[in-house]
Symmetry: C2
Subunit: 98 residues, 2 copies
Amino acid sequence: MGPGKAELLEMIIETGSISAAAKRMRMSYRRAWELVDTMNRCFTEPLVITSAGGSHGGGASVTDFGKSILEAYQAIVVKTNEVASSEIAAITSHLRQP
Amino acid sequence: MGPGKAELLEMIIETGSISAAAKRMRMSYRRAWELVDTMNRCFTEPLVITSAGGSHGGGASVTDFGKSILEAYQAIVVKTNEVASSEIAAITSHLRQP
């Protein structure tokens, strides 16, 4: 789990589809599908389930399990920003594209 | 910056070469070189500099700037583990390969 996968889950919750989520993130459908597949394979339960509907046509939803993983990730980000803001700034201030 | 890139920097510091660092991480030389290139391009200064020596033959070293970025990253990890251990456990306990 990282920022890209977390945002993808958020966008799937918002849009109800991997294809629409990918478009919002300016990511290819193929790349979004790969990220979903990686998450589903890495965890003991699926985070995203898809319903039939042909190529790019089906819907997708984030499972309750997926939502609990996303919430844990979001809490880690919030807490990390609270306790390590100076170290985060030390890194991000030296990024070309912050 | 993430766990893979941080470990790669640590291994380059230890071994003095991208090739040896890649081998330690059971990663292809090509992949390690790509990670180094990404880091050097994303930051305002190089984190790793390489010396000549032909294909895979040259040495590599982590710059003082790279070491400062690595140290900031390591501090973030330590602090995050301190404040968000339950959320981290909630995620890692559900990973197939922890």
